[in-house]
Structure formats: structure tokens, C-alpha cells
Amino acid sequence: MIQAQELSKRYGSKTVVDRVSFTVQPGQVTGFLGPNGAGKSTTMRMILGLATPTSGSVQVNGAPFTSSSHPLTEVGALLEARSVHKSLTARAHLRSMAAAGHLPASRVDAVLQLTGLWSVQHKKVGGFSLGMGQRLGIATALLGDPQVLILDEPVNGLDPEGVAWVRQLARQQAAEGKTVFISSHLMSEMSQTADHLIIIGRGRIMADAPIAEFLADGREQTLVRAGDLEALMRALAASGVELVREDAMTLRVVGPTSQQIGQRALEAGIALSELRPLSRTLEDAYLELTRTAVEYESTTAAPMTAGK
């Protein structure tokens, strides 16, 4: 469990994290979602005691992480892919980490095998690809079989197989009752992994809720008003389409998009007086939430940049 209370971080006059409070529960995957520069990494660094909060506090399993006597079995974290000395081999790095926590050498073997780095364990980390570096970071995080797993943009640089593996790993750890906290700047990524979402924008919490609440099972909802509602209902009736009559003239349609509804109404010759999408995809909901809170808004289509 991670509990942040009124956590703030200022660098000079710039407030990076602004009075943030949240709780990350064990037994589920909590997604930490926000645009680049929203304060995700800074928040995670404060949880881990690498950065000192300007004000507020954060506790891991009821105490500040900096006072932990068993840090490696308490928390495993991946912050940056390159948090290993380049001239060390993967194995030497993990052996050193294991030695710091009195962990048996069998744990080093176990995480090397789990992350698929067994064959490159004697290679220098400096020669690793981004994906391999990311895997080594995850291996380091898992070394102590920690109660709390904190992963900052873990799928960055991973191939599709690696992405699926991280998702599965996160789900599995949560199923074992661990606390899993994963950051991402992509809603699509989170929607497939997280049970709970905390959305941050410009250092402030924009939303904190179970993922289901962000959108009713992720389906399109449209409000339709028409004179001949009975005819419209017959025209729209199909499998996967849910029709809810709101009043004599209003229908809520769950399933098809508003374009599809309009098309079918046209084909059936029914005049619509209103056609309004009620909710959007998770991605839309996220964009809407953070639109006012993006640090560097692009005016035209800009290339997608990797999160820090």
C-alpha cells in the first residue's frame, strides 16, 4: 500500500507536483496516467525517497520508504531503463543488489530467467538495447520479490511480446496480493492492464477511480431523440445493441456509434431530432481530462514522444 498526503514538489518557482493525495491499494494494478511532464516520475521518486517532497508526505506500507530496514523485499522499482553502471554485466549488477539485501544467489538466477536475460547475463549493460535495459530494470525490481512494485513507463522500448509479458506480470503480481503501481502516458496501455486509475495532469490529480467508472464497460453511449421512437427501436435492434427508453421521445443507445445510428435511421426513413454521443472511449475521456493540463500542447500532429 502506498499513501500520499498533500505531496508537493517545487523546483524553484515551478511546481511539478501540487498537493497530491492518493492511496494505492494492494491486490490490484493501479495505473498512474498522465501526459509527459505531468509529474508522474517526480511523484514516484518521492515515494522512493530519491526526491524529498517540498511539503506533504508519502508512506509505503505505513512508513516512509527511507526508514525501511528491508527495502529490497519491501519495494521493487523500475525508474529509468539506464539505472545500471554501463561497464557492469547484468549478472554483476544483480549480484551486487542481492548482496545488499542478503538475498540468495538463487534469486539472481530466478529473475534472469524470468526476464529472458539468462543468455546475456555476462554481457555489459552498456551494450544493451532499450528493451533489454528495460528487462534488466524489471529484473532488478523483482529481485527481492517485493510487496510493492513501482514501474515507471515499463513498456517503453519493449517489443509487442515484451509488452504483453509486462501486462501479464503486473496482473500476476497483483493477483498474489502485491501492490502494483504503473505509470504510463498512454491510456490504451492502461486500459488493458489497470484495475484502478489515477490520472495526473500538471502535477494535480485529475481523477482517481476504478477503471470501470471511467466508462461503462468501454462501450459507446448515444442519446437519440426522435418522433417515432418505436420505429427507431426496431431499426436499431441488433445483437450487442442495448436500448434504454429514457422518456417518450428519448432513447439511450449503448453499443453502436452515433454515425451508425444516424445511418440506420436514414435507411429506415426516421427523422431524428437529436443525436448526441454521451460518453467516449477511455482515450477520449483521458484526453478530455488532461486537455487543459498538458505541459507541451501540440498545435499540429506532432510525433509521439516517449515518456520519461
Binding site: 530519491l50 528491508h70 553502471h85 549488477h93
Partner: protein, 277 residues
């Protein structure tokens, strides 16, 4: 190992001893460390041999005159033998800078301080490691240099004896001041978090500062008292007292060594506690 109740209490526990072990595993796994140790020892051997050889060659070319230092005296020869030690001390000092600055330049500080969020424990483990290691390397280097110099000294009929007080000074004060230089280097690495910066300041402290202050002596008299406490002056006063102009007593020099070893480290500890990683 999924819950703390089934985990043996020792597993996962991080202590000064375990961080020390982690640091030494990492330290010896690095090629750069091994190279610097070898270069430091070779430099110590080479400079000692060069000193003995040049004195021997010089002496054999000119007739002995009154007032010349008597190099057949082991006490005098040992000082020549030890005069090059500063060079290897600075190489080991640079290695100490890298031990600290490397954490920040490579980003490995994140791993290090996640394994031990108590930052001063990491600093203590590194200080312990570098002090023990450089002390041992200095003693070993002095013995190796002795073995190389023995035939040269014999050839020129110079006295060089392990048991002489001067040789013992080179051996033990050499090790002590090497540890001091390494701890200054470590502190600089933590303070500046930059390899180039740390090494530059370390070299500046030993070469530039002394020269600068010695120029000032001409103008201001009280500066003379300060210059004696500069690290390079302390090293030469301890290792080669007859050629040094130092007027400090041994206990004063020891205080200076302790001060240089501890005070920069205290600043480094404070900075490490306060600054973000």
C-alpha cells in the same frame, strides 16, 4: 517469500555490512577500477625506481663533497624512494572520485539508493571500502617498489633498508595519506557528482593551490602557516621530512590528515542527505 512472515528475517535486511559487500562486488567487477589500481602500483614502482636510479647515477658521476646529502645512509635514500608516492596517491584519489561520481553519471545511483534508501549508509560503506582498499594497495605498492629498487640501490651502493625509520615512514605514512587522498576524492565525487569536475578539483588541491599559496607567501606572512596544512604539504612533511620545509610537529600533521579525511566527507554527507538523487 511472498509474505514477510515466511521470509527469514535476514533475507532482505540491508545493513552496513551488506551494502559494503554490494559495493565491493560492483567495484571489483569494473574494469576501470582494476586498470587504475594496476596503474597506481606501477607508477609508484616506476617513480621510486627512477628516483633511486637518478640519485645513484648522479652520485657516481661527481666526487662526494662536504655538505652533500649522504645517500649511502638508508634514512636519506628512503626519502628519495618515497618522494614519488603522491603520483600514485592521486591516481587512487581519482578512482575514489569515480566511485562516487560514477553513481550519478551512469544513473546507477537509483539502484544503489533503492537498495539502501538510508543514504549515509551508502556513503559509509563506500568510505570504508575505499579507505581499506587504498591503504592496502599503498602498502603493497611500497613493498613492490622496494623489490624493484633493491637491485638498483645495490648497484650504486645506496642504502635502502626495510627496517630504517625513513622506510617505515614511507610505508605507513604513505598508506595513511593515501587513504586521506582517497577520502578527499570520494567526498569530491559526492559533492560535485561529476567525474571530470571531481578529479580536476582534486588535482587542483594538490598542485595548483600550493603554488598559488606559495606565491602569496611573498606578500603576506601569515599565509605560511596555512600552506603547511595543505594536503600535498602534509604528505611530503610526513614522508620526506628532511626535504620538506614544514615546521609542524607530527601530532599536528596527524590532525591535518584527520581533518582532510573527515571534513570534506562531512560536507559530502550533508549534501547527500539534502540533495535529491
Amino acid at each position: 517469500m511472498s509474505t514477510s512472515t515466511v521470509t527469514p528475517s535476514r533475507a532482505g535486511r540491508v545493513t552496513l555490512g551488506s551494502v559494503f559487500r554490494a559495493e565491493s562486488i560492483r567495484f571489483f567487477a569494473l574494469r576501470s577500477t582494476q586498470i587504475l589500481i594496476v596503474v597506481a602500483v606501477l607508477a609508484q614502482m616506476a617513480l621510486a625506481a627512477l628516483g633511486i636510479w637518478s640519485v645513484g647515477a648522479f652520485m657516481s658521476n661527481i666526487p662526494a663533497e662536504a655538505g652533500m646529502p649522504n645517500f649511502t645512509d638508508p634514512e636519506v635514500t628512503a626519502e628519495v624512494f618515497g618522494s614519488g608516492i603522491t603520483f600514485s596517491q592521486l591516481i587512487l584519489g581519482a578512482m575514489a572520485v569515480l566511485l562516487a561520481s560514477g553513481e550519478f553519471t551512469t544513473g546507477s545511483a537509483v539502484s544503489t539508493f533503492l537498495a539502501s534508501p538510508q543514504r549515509l549508509r551508502v556513503l559509509s560503506a563506500k568510505a570504508l571500502l575505499i579507505a581499506v582498499l587504498t591503504g592496502v594497495i599503498s602498502v603493497a605498492g611500497t613493498f613492490l617498489a622496494y623489490l624493484v629498487c633493491l637491485p638498483i640501490a645495490g648497484h650504486y651502493e645506496l642504502g635502502l633498508e626495510l627496517s630504517s625509520a625513513a622506510f617505515q615512514r614511507v610505508l605507513w605514512y604513505g598508506a595513511l595519506t593515501t587513504m586521506m587522498v582517497a577520502l578527499i576524492g570520494l567526498a569530491l565525487g559526492f559533492l560535485l557528482r561529476s567525474s571530470a569536475g571531481g578529479i580536476t578539483v582534486l588535482l587542483g588541491l594538490f598542485f595548483v593551490l600550493s603554488i598559488l599559496v606559495q606565491v602569496l607567501i611573498m606578500a603576506v606572512d601569515w599565509v605560511k602557516n596555512i600552506v603547511q596544512y595543505l594536503p600535498d604539504q602534509v604528505v611530503s612533511a610526513l614522508i620526506s621530512p628532511t626535504t620538506s620545509m614544514s615546521s609542524l610537529e607530527t601530532w599536528q600533521l596527524m590532525c591535518a590528515v584527520a581533518g582532510w579525511a573527515v571534513i570534506p566527507l562531512v560536507f559530502a554527507a550533508w549534501a547527500l542527505r539534502v540533495r535529491d538523487i
